[in-house]
């Protein structure tokens, strides 16, 4: 999963059997799979033979056997892994992971202790940052999760950088053989204040400590313990990534013309009354035409316009707002008379001026809080 001397020498190397690959179907729709000669990946578009992937570079598009859909094959990274991993516990996400790695001052060669391992989301990023000469010692009190995590790290090619130990750190602290050797310690525990003294023994002078806690009470007890156990520069902060969605919206620029929907509604109702429901087909047809435009956009994705964010509005595939003129024309085709309000007028005057603008706004619902990050630095003694 990580960069290596090989990938540095050959950044365009092709996919091969045994590689882990992230199958990307859409922004919130990704899975990981391992390439196997003769293997097959199935989704709602059908089967995608692995043999078609072998020999092509990562980042390629694969077409289904039936030819009606496609997937993208991306090289796995810790960020993508966070999106595809099996959640055995609540995990850390990109914003927190980035801040932890950065403020713990991690870099190649660093030694970091982590507990609990959980689903290994953060662990992959820790491994990436300390590679190739550092090490991650991670501790998990749930035996089965510890074993699963160890298997996953090995399968993902970071087994040589990560040592998983089944141990309850809140009960027994970190093992003594880490005394004074860690450059950084990370805690994601219910009672981190219990572990602060052990962390103080393990972190080298001027090394860094971080605790991730959803609750403010945990933070308060942790800060008090840090101050009493040889830590300084306590800092508690929150980070979040606010997702934004991008779309194109037609915005009316003509302030004088009546709004389209009012013209249409008036027209439809008048026509219905006049023809006694005979125009239901016309109305339904028009409604279907509109829905068809939306539906087209939806069906094309992920085949065509790949939605770039949650809740993305339809793109230019949606036609212009039908004007009263078109409405009248449809009605006319179906043999009804145009309503008195809809006298035939030159199309330019009737077509409402709209400007299709690229707009962006925050996605309405998203993560509001993950946890507080509390950082501290190990004091350097005078003698």
């Amino acid at each position: 999963m990580l960069h290596s001397a090989d990938s540095a020498a050959n950044p365009t190397r092709p996919m091969a059997a045994g590689d882990l690959v992230v199958v990307y179907e859409g922004f919130d729709n990704m899975k990981s799979t391992r390439i196997v000669a003769g293997g097959m990946f199935q989704n709602r578009f059908g089967g995608f033979p692995h043999n078609d992937w072998i020999g092509r570079p990562f980042g390629s598009k694969a077409i289904s056997k039936k030819g009606n859909g496609w997937i993208l094959l991306l090289a796995p990274t810790p960020e993508l892994w966070t999106n595809v991993l099996r959640h055995r516990t609540q995990i850390l996400y990109a914003a927190d992971i980035a801040m932890v790695v950065a403020l713990l001052e991690l870099r190649p060669g660093a030694v970091v202790l982590e507990t609990g391992t959980g689903s290994g989301s953060l662990t992959h990023s820790l491994a990436r940052t300390i590679a190739p000469t550092g090490h991650v010692y991670t501790f998990e009190y749930h035996e089965q999760r510890a074993a699963l995590a160890a298997e996953e790290f090995k399968a993902n090619g970071i087994g040589h950088l990560v040592t998983v130990t089944h141990r309850d750190i809140e009960l027994g602290g970190f093992p003594e053989d880490h005394r004074g050797k860690a450059d950084a310690v990370f805690l994601d525990l219910p009672k981190p204040h219990l572990v602060v003294p052990s962390a103080a023994r393990c972190v080298r002078p001027d090394g860094m400590f971080c605790s991730f806690s959803p609750c403010i009470e945990q933070v308060q007890r942790t800060c008090e313990a840090l101050n009493a156990n040889g830590f300084r520069d306590m800092r508690t902060l929150e980070v979040l990534l606010r997702q934004l969605e991008v779309s194109r919206q037609p915005l009316v620029t003509d302030m004088e013309a009546p709004p389209q929907h009012q013209q249409q509604q008036g027209g439809r109702k008048k026509q219905q009354r006049r023809q006694g429901g005979g125009d239901a087909a016309a109305v339904g047809g028009d409604a279907k035409r509109q829905k068809g435009a939306d539906g087209t956009a939806a069906a094309v994705a992920p085949g065509g316009d790949v939605p770039s964010a949650e809740g993305e509005a339809p793109t230019a595939a949606v036609g212009d707002v039908p004007t009263a003129q078109e409405e009248a024309a449809t009605a006319a085709v179906n043999g009804s008379e145009p309503a008195p309000e809809q006298q035939p007028q030159p199309p330019q005057q009737q077509r409402q001026q709209v400007e299709r603008q690229t707009v962006s706004k925050p996605v309405p619902f998203g993560r509001g809080h993950t946890g507080y990050l509390t950082f501290a630095r190990r004091v350097v003694a005078l003698a």
Partner: protein, 509 residues
Amino acid sequence: MAMPLALHGFYICKRIMTAFPATVQVGDTVIFDVGERQAVVTIDAKSDVKLGKAYYSTAPIVGCPYGSMFALSADGKSLERIEHTPLTDWDLPVDTAPDTRNNAELVDGGCDAQALCTADIEAMKAEGTAGADIVAALTANSVTFAAKTEFSQAKYKKKKAKKYIQIATVRRPTALALCQAYFTSTPVKTNYLRADTLALLLNLANVAAHARVLVVEACGGLITAAVAERLGGHGGVVSAWAGGVGTRPPPLGLWRNINLSIAQRAGIRLAPLHQLLTEQAQQAQQAGGHCSCEPVPAAEQPQAAVEARAAEGGAAEPMDPKPAVGSPAHQPQQQVEGHAEQQAQQAQQSRPQQRDQQQEGAQQIEEEAQQLPARTGNGALQAGGRGRVPGTWQGQRVEQHQRLQPPFNSCILASATLSPLALVRHVLPLLAPSATFAVHCPWQHPLAEAMDALKGQSQVANLALSESWYREMQVLPMRTHPSMNMNHGGGFILSGTVLAPQQGQPPQQ
């Protein structure tokens, strides 16, 4: 902890190999943190730092561990190491007896509340009264102090301590620490790049050892520095700039301030984008014009070594103390002619420097980069004056030079004056299939337009536009709450993954 001379040499060698050199050495840059202000200082025989109102020699700092604290010696003439003392915030009795004090009758009398006047305080300082004693005197002479609540008293004492007790901490200049230092005092130098944003850019672009990274930035070189730190000497980063032939680079000198090792510095290259595009086009030609899965041909390398060696002469690293971040405006020294050549000839390190001789980092890097196109067009940075490793560097250079050429598998773009869409399209040919990129912009709309134009075009996928949100907390017993002030200037990030050219289509032009 003083460093015996015999061990000094050992620790110099060890520094090349350890991730965290433990002690400050001559030639290192440090962050001299006095609380409200952090100065970025390069330590040499003549450098000094400001504590309180005066400047003091940095000599006592040499050999001390990073993280050491200093105060003024008893005679007030030099810096002296002191022990750290824990905060007293958690010592206050909590809810033992109902505290009936409040500020219902506290009237702000301005100066009348304090019996001591400015002259008295200055006299105390002149006598050499310790800061703690001044604070005690102020507390005793404040008519309103006794009536304040316990919390209010603690806050008062803290505020006075900040002003009268001068304590400094010598910190390691990590890229993040520098980012925060510049952000609080002179953010214009790093184009207001906030620490959480920088952290995100590094992760979203998948920067790590052995990556081949392309950076286009206008943040003073801070992003390049942060990338070099994450590379740890494995892989390479090219810091590039847009504009045609002859365009001068923006200031990119901040990589000098993070104490990079020789191996790390060898992995940094400064080059204009047009040159990288030329290299990429040459590679494509040699590979027959289709997406190549072969490494850079060996024929390139001897030429590159010659270029690199010639470039070294112009890219040697000066040892000037950096302008103190947050210090009052200084007089930029006139550029010394041929400064870089002089240093290339001298193999020695520290030169005597006047505190006033403070070069703008921008002037230096521009001078070096301008020399380079005249000679080689290749901005590969060499180890320079700080302990060159003889005999082996050429082997290093040839092997690493490949890492400093396209295609790149990691890309960070953070140049606020350039249209993100135009810049992404411009650098796409330089990026390998499945390369991860992150584009930062202080404004939302240019990234929205870029995202709108790029999605569905089959050149990039996994596009995400996000805003980085950040808030600090005050954590104290009975007084925990988010900080009253908050910075909203993290900017916006567009991230994504580059797709391989579709089969049957020509590579991205």
